[in-house]
């Protein structure tokens, strides 16, 4: 009812304007309105972008500030004396190249395993439906809801005395201790119980459901098996989906400290190391301790202080170094990532 009324109104308005003047007033009004709304949108986007980028920019500025200039109000965004000393010191105390390599490889392996498991399971839920697969998908949702901390202790005990159907105690005579080894986290990832694995299964299911079914049917009629359909038809067609899930998996695993601290507590993970650097222990700061440990490697002409503001600044530099690889990777794949998000249609 309302709609018809508005149509009638707009019709009468346009007729009036046409009859009174030659100039098309509503069109101009519309134009101005469109420009105004675009300006408004830009203003909002710029404001929010500034707020999102503020911490990052602040971190970069802090990293380049000369230690003697801490707290100086002479400059706001560009430091008065730009120096790379802080970054050099942070690189040494974090043992950056080694830690970076370890973090990158372990996160990448876990991401691959999660992708394999989640894509297979997601495809099964999307296309290879069988009796009871609906129920099993309900269980996937349940594993999203139940927090992983619930399983913390039994999993810990299980990995301490690891055995798969008695195979290992039969072969070697004793059970394996998988704690402190990356194998425990890889095992969780490939079996679909890693960090947010169920969420990835869910996303893959939605993605595969959105693919045109005809392609797969045609391949089947032509005599391809299910595995072959999956590897040569579905996989190439769902590259954006893989990139989306891959980025999310990589980022979440990179930033995660829950699983590494529980199963593989080593400072080789940058994020774990960052947390131990940030922790305060009995008055003396971890930053100063770390600098003390690595003092022989730091060349004497680098300026470093032992004050609290300096520690805070070094911590900021370490944070920046920790998230820098993520930002670089994200900037490389962001186009495909955004496309994947748009096409995945993570519809409920």
């Amino acid at each position: 009812m309302i709609n018809t009324e508005t149509i009638q109104k707009s019709q009468t308005v346009s007729e009036e304007s046409r009859s009174t003047r030659k100039v098309n007033l509503p069109a101009i009004q519309k134009r101005i309105k469109a420009i105004l709304s675009l300006l408004f949108r830009y203003a909002l986007i710029i404001c929010l972008s500034y707020m999102i980028l503020y911490p990052l920019l602040q971190m970069i500025t802090t990293a380049l500030t000369h230690p003697y200039d801490i707290g100086s109000t002479a400059s706001v965004w560009i430091p008065e004396h730009i120096t790379l000393d802080n970054i050099k010191v942070a690189t040494i105390i974090m043992d950056y190249p080694k830690s970076l390599l370890y973090s990158l490889t372990s996160t990448f392996v876990i991401m691959l395993l999660q992708l394999i498991n989640a894509s297979f399971a997601g495809y099964s839920f999307a296309r290879l439906k069988f009796k009871g697969s609906g129920f099993l998908f309900g269980l996937v949702i349940l594993t999203i809801i139940v927090p992983p901390t619930t399983m913390m202790l039994p999993q810990y005990v299980y990995f301490r005395n690891f055995d798969l159907f008695g195979i290992f105690s039969f072969l070697t005579g004793h059970k394996l201790n998988l704690l402190g080894k990356p194998a425990s986290m890889c095992l969780l990832a490939i079996l679909g119980q890693g960090l947010n694995s169920s969420l990835f299964i869910y996303i893959f299911r939605q993605f595969f459901r959105g693919l045109p079914k005809e392609l797969e049917e045609a391949a089947y009629v032509d005599g391809a098996g299910f595995l072959r359909i999956f590897t040569s038809i579905v996989l190439p067609a769902s590259k954006p989906g893989f990139i989306t899930v891959g980025v999310l998996s990589f980022v979440w695993n990179w930033n995660d400290t829950y699983f590494p601290l529980l199963f593989n507590p080593t400072d080789r993970y940058l994020r774990v190391q960052l947390n131990s650097l940030a922790a305060s222990s009995g008055g003396s700061s971890q930053i100063q301790l770390a600098i003390g440990n690595a003092v022989s490697k730091i060349s004497p002409d680098i300026v470093r202080l032992s004050t609290e503001p300096y520690d805070k600044m070094m911590l900021t530099v370490c944070k920046l170094l920790t998230i820098l690889p993520l930002i670089i990777i994200f900037l490389i794949v962001q186009k495909q990532f955004v496309e994947g998000v748009e096409r995945s249609g993570i519809v409920g």
């Binding site: 709609n3 707009s10 675009l38 949108r41 830009y42 909002l44 986007i45 929010l48 707020m51 999102i52 990052l56 602040q58 971190m59 498991n117 297979f120 399971a121 495809y123 099964s124 290879l128 697969s133 099993l136 809801i145 139940v146 927090p147 992983p148 901390t149 619930t150 399983m151 913390m152 202790l153 039994p154 299980y158 969780l188 079996l191 679909g192 960090l195 299964i201 005599g223 098996g225 299910f226 979440w252 930033n255 995660d256 400290t257 829950y258 601290l261 947390n275 940030a278 922790a279 944070k319 998230i323 993520l326 994200f330 962001q334 186009k335 955004v338 998000v341 249609g345 519809v347 409920g348």
Partner: protein
């Protein structure tokens, strides 16, 4: 050719199967790793945790030693433990307003960056940066300080925003103090809201992209204003995503929940860990985990029931 040859060689029983049976076989095969993981690393530990919560647990060489004590662990968790009951209570009361703000904010942000305008790819990249910056389900509440989120949430940034001015204006305008407090809380927490809205914004954006343009065309032809279009087209069409985002945000907020008590920061996950591994009271920790799980499931079930009543499914 090669495929057909392989098939004829590879067991005639498979070749003779019906399509539905083949589908079932491969469906189960594809799911096998997940099923194995589900039983080994989800169902079994879950049951064990429930069992532990009724026992005194000692970790011994080659396994664990159980001693049945009934509900004592639960009674201990709620009455004797000084931190846990507060954590659970504040977890529920703090999460709801926060999730409400996150959902509204991320929906608006998604609408803002959706559509065609010059520079949209840059805007999208920036809006996804909070996901990168390390605010996720497994945020570092475990290991003490969550350094990156604190950088985003706290510090000089909030002061620079000048929430004091807004607060003054609102208070002088004669609004009730509760509302003023809520608004000022939301404003001064804008950085943390921004930081945790990354994934919901992403989900909403995906949802907005999947709305058929023909619906908007119809709306325009019928002469509806953009205000009407939002309430009659956009909102119903993204309502399934509201459900997904709400569930995600609740779980996320529960997991990262932490409060300050007497100058020390306690996180719920971190506290369970401390009880289990530092105090070596595994039974108590298991009881806490069961309570935490029960609260999560109950809240999520209730919220999804309420939301699913108003959710509109197009197909």
């Amino acid at each position: 050719m090669s495929i057909r040859n392989k098939k004829q060689k590879g067991g005639s029983w498979y070749y003779r199967l019906e399509l539905s049976k083949k589908t079932r076989l491969w469906g189960i095969l594809f799911l096998l790793p997940w099923l194995l993981g589900f039983f080994l690393f989800f169902l079994k530990p879950l049951i064990e945790t429930v069992v532990y919560s009724f026992n005194t647990v000692k970790v011994i060489e080659g396994g664990i030693d159980l001693d049945f004590i009934g509900w004592k662990n639960y009674i201990h968790a709620f009455t004797i433990d000084t931190v846990f009951n507060r954590l659970i209570l504040t977890m529920i009361t703090k999460t709801f307003p926060q999730v409400l703000i996150v959902i509204i904010f991320s929906l608006l942000a998604a609408i803002l960056i959706n559509g065609r305008y010059p520079g949209r790819s840059i805007a999208r990249t920036i809006f996804f940066i909070p996901i990168i910056m390390g605010t996720n389900i497994a945020e570092a509440t475990l290991a003490g300080k969550d350094v990156i989120s604190q950088e985003i949430a706290g510090g000089s940034a909030t002061k620079a925003f000048g929430s004091g001015v807004i607060l003054d204006v609102l208070a002088n305008a004669g609004l009730p103090l509760e509302i003023v407090g809520y608004v000022s809380g939301a404003v001064s927490g804008i950085f943390s809201i921004l930081a945790i809205s990354g994934v919901p914004t992403l989900i909403f954006l995906a949802g907005l992209q999947s709305i058929s343009p023909s619906l908007y065309e119809v709306a325009r032809m019928e002469g509806s204003t953009s205000y009407e279009t939002f309430w009659k087209v956009t909102l119903p069409m993204v309502s399934p995503m509201v459900l997904v985002c709400t569930v995600y945000s609740i779980i996320d907020a529960f997991f990262r929940h932490n409060i300050m008590i007497n100058g020390t920061r306690y996180g719920i996950v971190k506290w369970m860990r401390t009880v289990a591994f530092t105090q070596a009271n595994y039974g108590l920790s298991a009881a806490m985990a069961v309570v935490y799980m029960a609260v999560s499931i109950l809240v999520v079930a209730l919220v999804s029931y309420l939301i699913s009543k108003v959710v509109f499914y197009y197909d």
